[in-house]
Amino acid sequence: MLSMKQLTKVYRTTEVETTALRSVNLDVAAGEFLAIMGPSGCGKSTLLNIVGMLDSPSGGEYWFVDRNIAGWSESQLSELRKNSIGFIFQSFNLVDDLSVFENVELALLYHKDVAARERKLRVHEALENMKIAHRAKHRPQQLSGGQQQRVAIARATVARPKLLLADEPTGNLDSAMGEEVMQLLTELNQQGTTIVMVTHSPSHADYAHRVVHLLDGSIVTDRVRQAV
């Protein structure tokens, strides 16, 4: 599904040049659950941003389902992204002024092909799936962290993306809630969604099929776990 060849990313300011990724080669098959680990500043987030098309690589190729999208324009990427990728963040990134329902609805709002009626149905369904439908009218701040993250997952999945990117999804949660979120991600993966997750927690990385370790912008280990 994803294929990165000799991917590099260099940040330049007037004074300093920082290499965030050095010749990364990484393939992710459809249906895989991949965890990326590594210390702060190793390039995890940069890699995830490039995978999520939020940032473009400085060199190399990035094949997304048979298309090399390195060098695509912002609006092309935006179109592809909105139809194919869902995002989950450590800090949930819910809009405070919108209700739970509206936050999830936001992900369909920019899909012109989804009619209002269908949109409502799908939002409701996504909330049901995340067992948070009873809080649909509440504001994010009225929910616990775990509940907020479930809303965020509902939002990330309501557009039915093929790929789900999770940036330390459990980083702001206590361990019980963290487990719960990991369970949900596993279920989504079992239903066929490809997941790429950045995490600091080895135990949460254990949920993944495959764990990649980054150090100073390079992949140092790439280990496929045996099914438990």
Binding site: L54, S75, V95
Partner: protein, 827 residues
């Protein structure tokens, strides 16, 4: 999608109350100004548009350029001019004339001093003012007819039907008649009261054919006295410029001989007289270059000025909005990044921000209308025009207002929309990103502009008031306290005038009594041709007919020679005609001049005494020189004046009262008047009263500027306050670090105030030159004016700075006192 935007906007307003309050209040104040500007402009443009059939109607004006004297441009014209135009210029299909006179009008013993419009019989068919009763075509079929306005009808007849009833007034009589016959005028029509939005004024109209027409018959065919207004109707398609050009032939034919005979000027009439036609509907706005308009005109430049100030105020409010929106954007970056992540296109985000801004503007408009409703009484009192908000509910005005509001939203929303929609999503989602360095610079730029507007208008307001004050304090060269003037022109004739003055002098409450054809601050002007023997140039000098006591009443000192005396025969002139006619009986008589006239003639005051000059072609001798009197205040220089004593000449009576017993003395004056003229109501006024009105236009201009300064400052400060609150959140960390490094509260406050001061100080760099340029030009309109004191600029700038400090001080202090631990914990 629009519903989504609506919802987001509503939630945004509800959950950021201070921010919304500042934004909406700022825009509402700005839009209130716009509402008033729209009302004002609408009112100014409505003048005379409501009178039907005025498409081809024009008012006549005349510019007279007599050699040796500044051209005089007047809205009044000689009586024969419209008739001659109608009869001799093809394309002129009709004419009508109007001249206003003050007469005493009575119904039985109800007696009033009344302004009466003497008009041609076709007046109401040419200028179709609405008659409620009476037929416009026939109201003046009989010469002794009168048309009253509704309020005049009520004044004279109460609720009774006025049609067919009679009013009496004094008829026309010659200058030396002892009694004038009374004339009965039959009421033939009732006119709807004239609204304020017309160039015309008047409540009583009589035809020129009436015996009550006070216009002296010998002047009616004369091309040298401009007493009334003339209107002509042109055939469709005829160009007014063409018609004006064709009047040259008339002037050559009719004015040339009179110029030569009466003024001794041997040039073609068309070299001296130039006609001009102003479309009737445009008269109100296009008349400021003409003197003697029936009503004080408006002007396009005032209109544009008001619109410009309105736009500036609104822009200040827009800057506020932009400033706060970009400041708040730092709090919204996450939402924006998220929307982008979820597939929002840039233009969708732009649309969202614009819709938000427009919605906030429309909401502000609602508040603005409410505010306007509350402030309307102040506004109408200020403008002295009964404008009502109902006028706004005219659909195209409403459309203009909504259009302006939407435009305001677009302008206000454009910057935040463009900047915020360009954010990179990856950055927005990770950190608590703060606004870019760019937006900070832009915010400062907007504060600069806002304060530039406030400081600029503030300087102008200070200077205008300083000039008004200068005018009020200026030594004018004559007394004006306790002087009452009794307008006697045309009523007290011949010897009666002197007898009346004599009767007044007998009262112990009266210090002195003087007669003069013109009084200070009055309208009207008479000139005569003066020549120094041996010199080629003929000079036009302002002329006042006086009696010997006049300088005494006004305390105008004789600076050389001697005053005139009633007992010396040669001090009396035989006659003075406004037509600059020479009179052999004036030969060898004595006159006074003033210092300015001496200068014009090329003498010092001492040299002038004893000189013989040619006055309207007669030799007269200057026996004394009076000090200059600034009769017109600061606007015009003290006129170069020649004073003549012409016994029996119709004059005004100036009476200097002894303070302390004024009411009794006034009563005595009225009693004495009645003994002389039982059928005429005395017209008297205090000179101090006219003086108070002298600078009214300037005072109102100053007040207008003052109001706008306050509004602009208010909006600017709202914005500054909002900005201070918002940026404070960003600065918390910086302040924490400074405090940990040893800065005291005072150091922090000083630092923060300095940061506010920089843009305010820069704003002065913009405001000062602009204000200076404007004021230089404005002051050029005054003969006596203040110098532009640097203090005005410094005071305005410093006030702006102090207000800016005061606005942010409390917030700054709180911020500076915060425990640094709390500030740094946020990291």
């Amino acid at each position: 999608m629009i519903r989504h935007y609506l919802r987001v906007t509503a939630r945004g307003i509800a959950s950021h109350k201070l921010y919304s309050l500042i934004n909406i209040a700022g825009l509402a104040i700005g839009l209130t100004c716009v509402v008033f500007v729209v009302l004002f402009v609408h009112d100014q443009l409505s003048y005379d548009k409501w009178i039907p059939g005025t498409r081809n109607l024009y008012r006549l004006e005349l510019t007279i350029s007599i050699p040796g004297r500044a051209p005089l441009s007047m809205a009044v014209i000689p009586n024969p001019m419209p008739v001659a135009m109608r009869d001799q210029i093809p394309g002129v299909t009709a004419m009508t004339r109007l001249s206003t006179w003050t007469k005493t009008l009575s119904n039985g013993d109800r007696q009033f001093s009344q302004n009466i419009n003497v008009v041609d019989a076709n007046f109401f068919t040419t200028i179709r003012l609405p008659l409620l009763q009476g037929n416009p075509a026939t109201v003046f079929r009989q010469p002794e007819s009168v048309v009253l306005s509704q309020s005049a009808a009520r004044k004279y007849f109460g609720t009774a039907d006025p049609i067919g009833r009679f009013l009496t007034t004094e008829g026309y009589c010659g200058r030396h008649a002892t009694t004038c016959p009374q004339v009965s005028l039959r009421v033939t029509g009732v006119m709807r009261d004239l609204p304020h939005n017309t160039q015309l004024k008047g409540d009583v109209f009589i035809p020129t054919t009436s015996l009550a027409n006070p216009f002296p018959k010998r002047w009616r065919r004369n091309w040298f006295s401009e007493n009334g207004f003339g209107y002509v109707r042109l055939a469709p398609g005829v160009s007014p410029t063409q018609v004006a050009a064709e009047t040259a032939t008339l002037f050559d034919q009719d004015v040339t001989p009179e110029l030569s005979k009466l003024a001794g000027i041997h040039v073609l009439g068309s070299k001296v007289y130039k006609a001009h036609l102003t479309p009737f509907r445009n008269v109100h706005l296009e008349s400021s270059r003409w003197e003697d308009n029936m009503k004080p005109p408006g002007s396009w430049s005032t209109l544009y000025g008001v619109v410009a100030i309105g736009i500036l105020t609104l822009l200040v409010a827009c800057f506020n909005f932009m400033n706060l929106a970009t400041a708040r954007a730092t709090l919204r970056t996450r939402e924006i990044a998220l929307r982008k992540l979820l597939g929002a296109r840039r233009r969708q985000l732009i649309a969202q921000f614009l819709v938000e801004a427009i919605l906030v503007s429309l909401l502000s408009l609602v508040f603005a209308l409410a505010l306007a409703e509350m402030l309307l009484p102040l506004f109408t009192a200020f403008l002295r025009t009964p404008v009502s908000l109902d006028d706004l509910f005219d659909w195209h005005l409403l459309l203009v207002l909504i259009g302006v509001t939407v435009l305001t939203g677009l302008i206000s929303g454009s910057y935040p929309a463009l900047v915020l929609s360009g954010l990179r999503p990856a950055a927005g989602l990770r950190s608590r990103a703060t606004g870019t360095e760019n937006s900070g610079r832009l915010r400062n730029a907007m504060v600069v502009l806002q304060f530039a507007v406030s400081v600029g208008i503030g300087i102008a307001a200070i200077a205008v008031f300083a000039q008004v004050n200068y005018g009020l304090q200026m030594k004018m060269g004559f007394h004006r306290n306790h002087i009452v003037i009794i307008g006697g022109n045309n009523h007290l004739t011949g010897k009666k005038e002197e007898a009346f003055a004599q009767a007044l002098r007998a009262n112990p409450g009266i210090i002195s009594v003087g007669l003069s054809s013109l009084v200070p601050f009055g309208h009207g002007r008479m000139t005569s041709q003066v020549q120094v023997p041996g010199q080629a140039d003929m000079l036009a000098l302002d002329t006042t007919v006086i009696d010997p006591d006049y300088p005494k009443v006004y305390g105008i000192p004789v600076i050389a020679g001697r005053p005139l005396a009633a007992t010396r025969g040669p001090d009396r002139m035989h006659s003075f005609g406004v037509l600059s006619a020479s009179d052999p009986l004036n030969e060898g008589r004595n006159v006074l001049i003033n210092a300015a006239a001496a200068r014009r003639l090329g003498f010092s005051p001492q040299q002038a005494v004893g000189r013989t000059i040619l006055f309207n072609h007669n030799q007269v001798r200057i026996v004394g020189v009076l000090a200059d009197a600034k009769l017109h205040g600061t606007r015009r220089p003290a006129p170069a004046m020649i004073y003549l004593y012409v016994p029996g000449y119709p004059m005004n009576v100036s009476v200097r009262l002894r303070p302390g017993q004024i009411p009794q003395t006034l009563h005595f004056i009225d009693r004495t008047w009645r003994a002389f003229l039982p059928t005429v109501v005395p017209q008297r006024w205090f000179l101090e009263g006219s003086f108070k009105h002298l600078y009214r236009a300037e005072q109102r201009e100053g007040a207008t500027l003052g109001v706008f300064v306050i509004v602009a400052l208010l909006i600017g400060c709202l914005g500054l306050y909002g900005l201070a609150v918002f940026t404070a959140e960003q600065r918390t960390k910086e302040i924490g670090i400074r405090k940990v490094s040893g800065a005291r509260t005072l150091d922090i406050v000083r630092l923060m105030l300095w940061r506010i001061s920089v843009p305010v100080l820069i704003s002065n760099l913009i405001a000062w030159p602009l204000a200076y340029t404007y004021l230089r030009q404005w002051l050029d309109g005054f003969a006596y004016r203040i110098a532009l004191n640097p203090l005005y600029f410094i005071v305005a700038g410093a006030t702006g700075l102090l207000i800016a400090w005061a606005t942010v001080y409390a917030n700054t202090l709180r911020l500076a006192r915060t425990n640094p631990i709390r500030a740094l914990r946020y990291e």
